[in-house]
């Protein structure tokens, strides 16, 4: 056997080879949300088509919903209409929906694993680029557009050119204060925002094996930020232990045979990747972005780079533009940059371990004056778990707002937005211009780093705490 993990999953799902490159793949799990699905359902209705496998489809509301008081109706009438549309589409086509009233509601990439719906060896799609999150279980999980959403609803298949493979081998022991977020940010900094375009990344090495399932999800989640089609990690005992007993996981003899099957989902020793990159985890410090792409990132001990020192003309121009937008000067130390807002949330970093890590920093302290900080749990179950552990009290007493689950300020489709010029320490995944609000300035970092920044009122090296 000489196949990579990705090739095994791909080959097992080919329904029909359409061209040399493109195959029709069968989809095991289709996740949908309110923003990228209404036009797809309208298309189905217009062509009198049905949903081929409603039982393989799972819907939730996350992107445009408010994260405040749920007893009141959604104030934004346009967002309300979109949320209602998902409700009526789910009813009409027989799809299970985790709506605002459901204790299972949450960010689509948080609830899939939480339910045990995400399983090793699956092909998983969603009209959302962070679908790669599910690759942490050894699934081939990728984001698709709305036309493809309609296509999957109608046919349960997706037509894809076969991606190439890239091994990202991360070895060595992480130092204290360094998280999974820092590993993936450092990797994106190394290979660039298009470093993995056309590829599926398989994350390997002892530093990856040492990660918890939630940490693996953080790593895979940001694969798209390096341009990758998907990110994957081979399943192991930790994966199986995470899944066992979850509502959608197999039970009894089916569980035993599933685990036996899943154990074969690993890259064979003789298998070859199309490309390879390695990273030494022990040399990585906490990372902070300074620019307007996730690839514009540096160690917190570094200074804002000088665009004039960069290699090519386009890079220089891009860095210059980024610094102008971010209101930063070359040579400024990153530690010490003052912030106005803190956002602890998103499909990257809003699971229970993220909230525990952040809470351990803020416990007994208080958010700096003039800083507004919020915690938006990734799902209502994460929220309930945190409340059971008393974390909500820790955050509230420290001056954080404690919200309901949703995508919230990661993309600012609801009221949670930055004002022009406001600077935010964010645990989310994109620092694009205007992403969190027009003129808003985003610095991406880990939950611990964001929590420490909230307390200090400026970017700070959490290792000095």
């Amino acid at each position: 056997m000489t196949d990579t993990l990705f090739e095994k999953v791909w080959d097992a799902h080919v329904v029909q080879q359409l061209t040399d490159e493109v195959a029709l793949l069968y989809v095991d799990l289709h996740l949908i949300h309110e923003v990228t699905s209404p036009q797809a359902f309208a298309g189905l209705r217009g062509a009198s088509r049905r949903v081929r496998r409603p039982e393989r489809t799972l819907a939730t509301v996350d992107h445009s919903i408010p994260t405040g008081d749920r007893s009141r109706p959604i104030a934004d009438p346009v967002a309300a209409r979109q949320v209602d549309a998902l409700g009526s589409n789910a009813r009409e086509f027989g799809i299970e929906l985790f709506d605002l009233a459901s204790p299972g509601q949450g960010i689509v990439h948080v609830i899939g694993p939480e339910l045990g719906a995400t399983q090793p060896g699956m092909v998983i799609v969603c009209g959302d680029s962070h679908t790669a999150t599910h690759g942490a279980f050894g699934a081939f999980a990728l984001g698709i557009g709305t036309s493809e959403v309609e296509h999957v609803l109608a046919t349960q298949c997706v037509a894809l050119p076969r991606p190439r493979t890239l091994e990202a081998r991360i070895t060595g022991a992480r130092r204290a204060g360094v998280s999974a977020k820092d590993l993936i940010l450092a990797l994106i900094g190394r290979i660039g925002t298009a470093g993995a375009t056309g590829h599926v990344i398989e994350y390997t090495g002892d530093a990856i094996r040492a990660l918890s399932m939630e940490e693996r999800m953080t790593v895979c989640n940001m694969s798209i930020e390096a341009g990758a089609r998907a990110g994957m990690i081979a399943p192991d005992d930790l994966t199986f232990a995470y899944l066992q007993g979850r509502p959608r996981a197999p039970t009894g003899p089916a569980w035993t045979s599933a685990v036996a099957r899943w154990r074969a989902l690993r890259t064979d020793p003789e298998a070859r990747f199309d490309a390879q990159v390695s990273l030494d985890a022990s040399s990585i410090g906490p990372q902070v972005t300074w620019g307007t792409t996730p690839g514009m990132v540096a160690d917190i001990t570094a200074r804002v780079p000088d665009p004039a020192q960069l290699g090519t003309d386009t890079e220089r121009r891009a860095a210059q533009r980024a610094l102008e937008y971010m209101g930063l000067e070359p040579g400024m130390p990153l530690a010490g940059i003052p912030i106005d807002r803190v956002f602890l949330g998103s499909c990257t970093n809003a699971r229970i371990e993220d909230l525990r890590a952040a809470a351990s920093i803020v416990r007994g302290r208080h958010v700096a004056p003039r800083v507004r900080a919020m915690v938006v749990p990734g799902s209502q179950r994460v929220k309930a778990q945190a409340e059971q552990e008393g974390l909500d009290q820790v955050f509230r007493e420290a001056g954080f707002e404690w919200r309901n689950a949703g995508c919230s300020m990661c993309l600012g489709m609801n009221d949670d937005v930055l004002g022009a010029g406001e600077r935010c320490a964010a645990t989310s995944n994109r620092n694009f211009e205007g992403r969190q609000g027009r003129g808003g300035r985003t610095h991406l970092m880990s939950p611990m780093m964001a929590a420490a920044a909230a307390i200090e009122g400026h970017l700070v090296d959490v290792r000095e705490w």
Partner: protein
Amino acid sequence: MVESFVRHRGTVVTLLRRDVDTDQIIPKQFLKGVERTGFGPALFYDWRYRPDGSLDPAFELNSPKARGATILVTGPNFGCGSSREHAVWALAQYGFRAIIAPSFADIFASNCYRNGVLPVRLPASEVDDLVHGTEAGRREIEVDLERQVITNDHGFEARFSADPYGRELLLRGLDEISRTLLEEPSIAAYERRHG
């Protein structure tokens, strides 16, 4: 039904930035609708309009020379970030039929093929040649998907290679779902094998 694309003659506008992400192409506040239409005026909203809503004359698409342009020439990794197909709808509804860049984000390119917009990948040096030609006033070019070549009336010629599947979708203006449903026996056979 998708608008077919066989060949297109049009004028070029250049937007020489790298990593233009889909949040720039269509900002989030325009994603709350349930229709596929009405996105053209919101294209590049934060760059095109000043905070008071007036056009920003410094933005490339607002230059008088850009009026009527149907071909966008831009930097590497165009369309990165979010999978929102609204980005392609906005470009198409603004009037763009083809986008030429050294590289595209995967999901974005895939969305283009399904909306009658051709993503053309050219080496950076050939993109530079196109840009220089445009600056010298040679703004009209022809993009021929059948022959996979870009030409102008002044001797410029660049060959490109489109994804064969996407090319077929565009050339024939195919409805992808109808095409896939022709494979029904294979899909049904897969389902019988796997449940």
